[in-house]
Symmetry: D3
Subunit: 195 residues, 6 copies
Amino acid sequence: MLLPILADLQRLKRLDRTGWVLRGLAPGAESVAAHSYGVAVAAMLLADRVRARGVELNAERVLRLALLHDLAEARTGDMPRTMAEYYGAEVRRRAEGLAFADAVSGLDEPLRAEYERLHEDYEERASVEARLVKAADIVDLLAQALTFERGGARELDEFWEGAQERDFGLEGAAREVVAETVAALVAARAELRRA
Amino acid sequence: MLLPILADLQRLKRLDRTGWVLRGLAPGAESVAAHSYGVAVAAMLLADRVRARGVELNAERVLRLALLHDLAEARTGDMPRTMAEYYGAEVRRRAEGLAFADAVSGLDEPLRAEYERLHEDYEERASVEARLVKAADIVDLLAQALTFERGGARELDEFWEGAQERDFGLEGAAREVVAETVAALVAARAELRRA
Amino acid sequence: MLLPILADLQRLKRLDRTGWVLRGLAPGAESVAAHSYGVAVAAMLLADRVRARGVELNAERVLRLALLHDLAEARTGDMPRTMAEYYGAEVRRRAEGLAFADAVSGLDEPLRAEYERLHEDYEERASVEARLVKAADIVDLLAQALTFERGGARELDEFWEGAQERDFGLEGAAREVVAETVAALVAARAELRRA
Amino acid sequence: MLLPILADLQRLKRLDRTGWVLRGLAPGAESVAAHSYGVAVAAMLLADRVRARGVELNAERVLRLALLHDLAEARTGDMPRTMAEYYGAEVRRRAEGLAFADAVSGLDEPLRAEYERLHEDYEERASVEARLVKAADIVDLLAQALTFERGGARELDEFWEGAQERDFGLEGAAREVVAETVAALVAARAELRRA
Amino acid sequence: MLLPILADLQRLKRLDRTGWVLRGLAPGAESVAAHSYGVAVAAMLLADRVRARGVELNAERVLRLALLHDLAEARTGDMPRTMAEYYGAEVRRRAEGLAFADAVSGLDEPLRAEYERLHEDYEERASVEARLVKAADIVDLLAQALTFERGGARELDEFWEGAQERDFGLEGAAREVVAETVAALVAARAELRRA
Amino acid sequence: MLLPILADLQRLKRLDRTGWVLRGLAPGAESVAAHSYGVAVAAMLLADRVRARGVELNAERVLRLALLHDLAEARTGDMPRTMAEYYGAEVRRRAEGLAFADAVSGLDEPLRAEYERLHEDYEERASVEARLVKAADIVDLLAQALTFERGGARELDEFWEGAQERDFGLEGAAREVVAETVAALVAARAELRRA
């Protein structure tokens, strides 16, 4: 039965990304679903760039990982970074694992098991595809922060700090493509602040 | 220094009570700060009623407990009920304890320690005052659910199920006053559904 | 350069699906980005079900089509159904084609051309994958309408009328899977109205 | 029957002016109805100033044109500038003409025909009154942009570019009054940016 | 100088009609500016219908009265009905008179004095035009209430009670046209409740 | 019966603090309930600091005054400062007095009379506790203004002008604690503007 997952998707359309609200943006600033869309398209663009440079990547897997990576939040809510400090990364992972398992529990085998394996891959950054989706997660985060800053928001510095130094565990073309994209975002932000 | 706590308060004004959003209400439906206000006034009213029936209660403690009981959420976010299932009550308690400790860390002694003891009392429902504040928490929840249902919301049944049977560990006049208030809310809701 | 497309994605996170607002829902009810996420996950689920019944489908193509199908709206806005009556389907298609071409104009070849072909495929429903994404578009629309109705919205009947009779040009397992899903949504709605 | 037009008015109260949202402002920033109110009052003020300088103007016609000029958007939605580039001005005009005709189709003759003539006059800027309403449309747009910039919005430069050079096809006192008002808005904005 | 009035108009675009919020609708439900637009168009439609039945009316005055009748609220806020009970109608009138005087104080004579006379006429319902605008105010209120009820709102009964009995001090065709319009709204609402 | 007061609390959760909206912030920026929560916690912190310096204060009274000080606004709405100029402070006080009396009219004696006395104390700033709550009201206002300015808002200067010179009628430790807190907020704002 697909209805429970479809209902979860609708919840994600309403669920705020908590981090923005805790930094003073109005409720409704960005939903988890909207962010997931941004991540999925960014991941597709990054993957296609990487492949254009001659490196093999399973683009279908990239897209599946991106679409599923925040699905569990329909049941756990979006835990802000500050929250994660108090709960600990391990606890968050276990809780989201249980929630994801519930979310896909209505699917037939072998689909259910395949989706679970994708979720585990993402959580452990086991594959290069999972690591690229994590990079896309940050790319969309920075693009969103830049947009909010264009709208007048201040005090979002912490999202930019260390952005260019962040290591996603990628190598070669994948590492280059991500670095170029993050650098372009950082440059656009520097230009905004000079204006 | 009071500034960090004052900043936490402003965050709570924007932070949505997640449960409503996961059930289809629009972002901005109820903030944690607005709920805390509702709980504090409800707790004051309940305590004053209890005292009017000749039972001793420390009303000042009731008010302090109510004002502090959700302060940690400025740092952990509001964990929805469904989330609590995945994290476990114990984990949530520990995380909120750490977050609360951070929130009051800038206060001078002995105030800091006093606030921590109040928070622990609430978490453990150790005093009759803490149990009455928990009852006020539910009273405000039901009053809010009723208001949303008057505004057209459906599918909030789960908040009402078992409301009258819930045991807050109260006795005598305190138990009666809470039971009467919950019964009045349940009756008002029944009337709304008949209309 | 990816920045222009990343900026388009951020616009889609804010852009309301106009149809809901014209029917009385509050601004912010559903963004185009959030809807696109719903469509992409629904399309993945439908495609995986179809494949589980032994029918070949290019799932990667399904996901790409879903992620790109509303991208042009970052530049054209979301045209409501009623609007389409006045403009005509052909005019809308041409305008969105131009806007999509602008949106991807910064990408290197052959990627740019590939994305254009995907968009054309969707607009013409040329492939079975494109037709399945159109079905997913309606599945997510109905799941959203059901959610709004659970939240109290009325007067959304027109979205349900003819939902089960709609022909997406699909055959065999694809046709069955879509029909079962729409039927389940219609049944859930009938149950809601009886409650 | 007035009910269909009254229902259209209610839709315009909820319908966002798309341009702001595409530039990063939150949904709900400005409704089409609120803008139409701003245009109508601005047009009244401009017309009264023009008449005070001894030039004849049909103020009643000015007000009617202002109140009707965006009514069709209840059926077509608000097409952003960027969208207009892809659709073409002629197509937009035709579509809004059809929508306007539908909107007033329930009115008795000769009222229905009179309203249609007013709408055509505005679309063709045939009368000096129609040209003055177009100027009021821009005056309200700039006053709104200035207000958003006071609230912290950035990146609204494009609304101000060429504002003072824009030619509304007005002459004499009408031209002067509009130019003075636009100049005052541009000066207020320059002052804001210096602050 | 028109800038202060233009700034007041922008405030009215954001200012909520308080009555809806006090009855459980979300902030942003209807702005004072959006309502004023609804009143102005409704007043135009009513006036034109009255004239079509052979009764003389100054339609320009009707439109001016409608556009100005709530302008002072940019400075006083929107006082809900319940508030008026505590302040008294006379106090409200005096305060809005002072605020209106301030709002137009920057206009040149004789315009300033003319606008003041229009405002006084509306407050005293001295002319038939002012009484018709008051009727349009209620017509738009009912049309808005009906729209909210279509969206799921309940508990708006008080707006409908006595709607058909209300006497606006109108006679002949004006009385008939208003009565027919209110009756049509009441009938549409009755139909909604049967559905 | 507590239900009418509980319903009033829910209204305060939705009621916007009008002053922000009139200065360009979006509806929903801060509710009266959220502000009252901020005031109550700020008042508790201030009172505890004062007591830590060896000065006696009735903290329970401070909390009760803070929780009740804006309750009447559920019936009168939130009157912005600009509005108060037109109505006069005396009129506002009388109206809120009547509204408060209605709000608590369902409570049993002697509670009802006690609550009325608390409200009168606050309105007349009769006790040192009432004066401290007024100071907390301003402390929370400044903390909120600072938060909005961090979010990008401009043009909130008027809230800061004279903030440090304001005399709340406090003496000794109470005066010092309030002055230190306001000075810290003013310093944080100066730092923000330098950034």
